[in-house]
Amino acid sequence: MPDAPPPIKATKKMKELMAGHFLGLDQAAREGRPKVAWCTSVGPAELLHAMGFAVYYPENHGALLGATRMATEVIPTANAAGYSPDICSYLTADVGAFLKGVTPLTQAYGIATVPKADVLVFNTNQCRDVEDWFAFYARHWNVPIVGVRSHRGLGEVKSHHVADVVAQFKDLIPTLERVSGNKFDLDRLRETVRLSKECTLRWRRVLELASRTPSPMTFFDHTIHMAPAVVLRGLPEAVEYYDLLLAEMDQRIADGVAAVPGERHRLYWEGMPVWGRLRMLSDLLSEAKAAVVASTYCNSWIFDAFDERDPFESMARAYLELFIVRDDEYKERYIHQWVERFGVKGVIFHDAKTCPNNSNNRYAMPQRLARNLGLSTLVLNGDLNDLRLFSDEQAKTNLEAFVEQMEELAA
């Protein structure tokens, strides 16, 4: 078997950035300065940075709970407190960990607890769970919760949708001014939107490099290296990081280094990662010489619309144009485009039990893609965080049989 690719060197830098991010938040929460804003993963981060907040993303914490497999241990505590095992397991893991007084940040960075919020800012463009999640902390700390109640299931994003979200963004400002003690400054917003756009352009390029054959990176690498695009967008560090990563990946391409040695099959991952089983799934597919080269999930931090000349409107557009906010027809067209560009022959749909919002198999999309595009499709039952809902053996057999099937069809 050909050698595994060398580890990605930029990872070291990313770890430093993430440590800086969390330690900075911890310090801010302890000293009360700058104020801490919690933000949903595709919430109005640019506005929060422009207002001078230290911005914390609980979904990222949820993913850490998943990846460290602490989630499965703490979810039952949230279940017992009334949060159903059927709802978002980021929420139940995060709330469960909080109720138990534990966090993976302790082991990773020596941080005792998640940073206390001064304000919680959500956007329901992805789901309703984020609002319920933040509401738990708003009640617990008696701090303000504000947000955007988004349109969902959109075909075309129309100007009235955008106008509505712009108005909702502007409505947040008085609360944000009061909590931060800073006056809103349009030029600062322009700057953070510009930085987010710079980050997006680079993140898009990173993802697009996987259209090369063989691909220099896989979805499993992307789930790790997306962290700066998620938690540092709107800041210069994210832009610098992707310059570093891109240079390394360009070199990989020049040297012909494949993320999956002997790559034979190219796949698309639709849905959430299974955070606690990334390594297992990555090894299994790698052994089968199957590279997952594209995914809806990692693409979700591409915000093409950002434009500092029109910061509010472009933010509204960016946060409405996301895949998760759209209707199935749009989603199918979107997958079709990526699949064609990336030379993908098979799509894995992860049906995450606790996240209907990211489980696009439930209304017969795999069947339509198979019929209309001649793709092989597989539905993998599991969950993002709750490993009680995931069977290793079933996943192994399903994936192995799926690659065997693609092999047969290719023969």
Binding site: S376, V379, Q394, T397, A401, E404, Q405, L409, A411
Partner: protein, 260 residues
């Protein structure tokens, strides 16, 4: 003679098949898997070889499939049981097929085209509803020997309607029916119906239908009920419980054919 063997190490039973170069079954064996996969596989193979009247040296290839496929050092290669069941079904019925395999712990629906290539497959979710384990659990609750279920269902004049998805809920429903005085035969027929419903919920059915697996081998009435339910003929290969072992042996045979 150059022979090939296939070993299917399932969660409940281990099966082995020895084939001649034309794919004819010379010997087969079924054992309980237990906890030592390698031992179960080796024993099943010995038994199948003895039945075939063949020696181990005559084997050109031994392939494994099933839950314990990676734990069998004596197999040179592995395939999934999905590949194996598809290969066996197509071997006996070479045409576009939907294969329904009801196993001890999981069910599969596999679609095969007229050329024998797999197009699609579905495995049941984590839950055991509709699998062999479900029937075993129910037999236990009803205090019935497992072997008596088929003839009981066949005798039934009536059928108890059971609606729940979950095994435990079904057990509660069954208790309710017993209280209402439903005859045992009607209950068992209702349980068979429940297995059929769970399977048909998994995927659509296209082409000819072939059923494989241990549950079908022991409960041929289930096949008849499936045929009624679908309103079409349902085929079964000879020795449906050996289908996985035969299928993976056929794959072994093919991959050791001299290149033409």
């Amino acid at each position: 003679m150059k022979l090939a063997a296939g070993i299917d190490i399932g969660a409940a039973a281990t099966k082995a098949a020895v084939l001649d170069p034309s794919g004819r079954l010379l010997g087969g064996a079924v054992l309980r898997t237990g906890v030592d996969f390698a031992l179960a596989g080796a024993r099943a193979l010995d038994e199948a070889l003895a039945q075939a009247g063949a020696r181990p040296e005559e084997l050109t290839a031994v392939f494994a499939c099933g839950y314990g496929r990676k734990n069998l050092p004596l197999a040179s290669e592995t395939r999934t049981e999905i590949a194996a069941h598809a290969a066996a079904a197509y071997h006996f019925f070479p045409r576009a097929l939907t294969v329904i395999d009801i196993g001890g712990q999981d069910n599969k629906i596999i679609k095969v085209n007229a050329q024998g290539q797999r197009l699609d497959f579905k495995m049941n979710r984590k839950c055991a509803a509709g699998t062999g384990a479900f029937l075993e659990e129910m037999a236990l609750r009803l205090d019935l020997p497992l072997e008596s279920m088929d003839s009981l269902a066949r005798q039934a004049e009536d059928e108890a309607r059971l609606g729940a998805f979950c095994t435990v809920f079904t057990a509660t429903e069954v208790l309710g029916k017993i209280r209402e005085g439903a005859p045992l035969s009607a209950l068992v027929k209702g349980l068979f119906r429940s297995v059929i419903k769970r399977v048909l919920e998994m995927d659509s059915i296209e082409g000819a239908v072939v059923m494989t697996g241990g549950v079908v081998a022991h409960n041929p009435y289930l096949v008849e009920m499936m045929a009624q339910e679908l309103g079409r003929e349902v085929l079964t290969p000879p020795q449906p419980q050996l289908a996985g072992a035969i299928g993976v042996a056929l794959i072994a045979l093919r991959s050791h054919e001299p290149a033409r």
